[in-house]
Symmetry: C2
Subunit: 146 residues, 2 copies
């Protein structure tokens, strides 16, 4: 069961400049940053608010580390902008299986590792009215590193 | 001061079909629907979670009521997908003035009426790393109609 907007993923050409835009314009701070080599991105999470399911909603700023990554190809085609949206769930495996059974294409056979040790999968945007949609289960608090 | 993600605005060709997708795939329900003739949209708000500032985060599904509306033109160019993101604030006037002073183009001279009697304005996407960005102050609870 999806219980929150976990984050909005925003693709950018220059992570540092984009972080500075969100800081100087709105006052948002970097909560966490990392490089995810599997996804081919350097990313920063800006925490915007906490949510009624005990989680939080972030902006996730994404700069590709290589042109042939999914985000790199998307940026080359579309330019900067909203790349995907992500719903939080306590059980990404169960939700992914349930959604696959409804005929929506789930892009990974098994969830992979996302921001802050979360487990993630994606749904095909053509099956979701044009929206690349991610499902996220946060890491247990004890293993989440900032 | 921006205190939450208020909503993610998603443009679609057929509002009823898109509502049905979000209901049957994820179980999300319509919290509110309306036609905004000024914006040229028929819309549905799906409440996803409540937020730590006392508000909530919604998906806002948008179908244009006319081809020459902003959303109609955007859909013709881009197809279905994420159209904008919106931050909630207690004082859209003050935040819009502050952000304008920083050199970001604010699209309206004065805030206009958005979903559920809110007051809204937009920031130019070219000044926001490609993201059409809305600022929203909710209507007082007593005047908000579902």
């Amino acid at each position: 069961m999806l219980t929150r907007i976990d984050h909005i993923g925003i693709a950018c050409f220059d992570l540092d400049k984009t972080i500075e835009f969100y800081r100087s314009t709105y006052g948002f701070q970097v909560y966490h940053s990392e490089v995810n080599e599997e996804q081919g991105v350097r990313e920063a999470m800006l925490k915007i608010n906490e949510t009624s399911d005990g989680g939080a909603t972030y902006l996730q700023l994404l700069e590709p580390t290589r042109e042939d990554s999914a985000v790199g190809k998307w940026l080359a085609k579309n330019g900067e902008g909203v790349h995907h949206i992500a719903f939080g769930t306590p059980d990404v495996d169960a939700d992914a299986a349930d959604i696959r059974d409804k005929g929506v294409r789930v892009l990974y056979d098994e969830p992979r590792i996302g921001s802050m040790g979360s487990r993630i999968t994606f749904l095909h945007p053509k099956d979701c009215h044009g929206v690349l949609t991610e499902l996220v289960t946060s890491a247990p608090a004890s293993t989440s590193e900032h």
